[in-house]
Assembly symmetry: C2
Homo-oligomer: 185 residues x 2
Amino acid sequence: MALVHFPVINKQGEIVTSSVTTLDVHDIARISRTYGVETFYVVTPLPAQQALVQRIMDHWLTGYGAEYNPSRREALGRVRMAPTLDAVQEAITRRTGRAPRTLVPDARRFARSISYRRGREILAEGGPFLLLFGTAWGLEPGLVERADWILDPIEGMPDYNHLPVRAAVAIILDRLLAPREAPGP
Amino acid sequence: MALVHFPVINKQGEIVTSSVTTLDVHDIARISRTYGVETFYVVTPLPAQQALVQRIMDHWLTGYGAEYNPSRREALGRVRMAPTLDAVQEAITRRTGRAPRTLVPDARRFARSISYRRGREILAEGGPFLLLFGTAWGLEPGLVERADWILDPIEGMPDYNHLPVRAAVAIILDRLLAPREAPGP
């Protein structure tokens, strides 16, 4: 999985680099760990932001935090920094021997958007897969277009669509990866 | 829905009052609004903590924030402070003419725990319902025992169970309240 800070769009639709939110790194690390995501990549080209995430990770992985809060250490142990999405795809290809296929959730519905049920079937076919989440107002549209699959919007109330990205990640991983309940009577 | 800061338990199992996390109020207000929860009650008996939440709400409902971020205003418009759970139940009873029946998610599985599928059936029977979330290490055990229904644990990886409460709320509301996808082909 990757949380992308560039290229994303702002409220005006311009392509920007968003700031890393340390809270998102913490929350999404735990959520990823809960659902068995192998690696959670934080993608930002800005060295100062990479250093910030590295400091958080060092604190919880080897500093005082590691002893104080082992569950956080365990979650952050699966976080990696990456300067670009290309670097993420190269890392996955190097490790698995195959280029990952990409899934992208999007708040809009496209002709080729797929249901979460279909998404589960695709994941069952075997990876590697790369699930992309955009920050700010979402991924640069070309990234969405080039994705192998686009997932349906999360449908809550049709007139309100303002979930924090950490909540969207929780919901989407639950829909794609949670063990299914046995069919009811 | 209620986010309970007292009575909850700490790591040692002692009954404590936890601190309100402003981020939880913001995130959970948006998540609640997304899934059509009528009112999100923040339950704390501590006047200083109530004042803190009130200040956040005033900022976003009537202050500079209301103009700057209307979607946040809309979400926070459904937040209410309550000193106790009894006060929440009285408010719901007053408004609806019936005492709410309570559902409680819990990280442990009980003999009477129900699936989320069963939870959806119960909600379809008609309310009022009150969904309780504990902060810190969870609701005081007596509250869980007295609930009308206890929901199954969220099952991710069996060896890791450290979701932030705001992530748990997102997942549980999605499981209980999201419109269901049409059955696949």
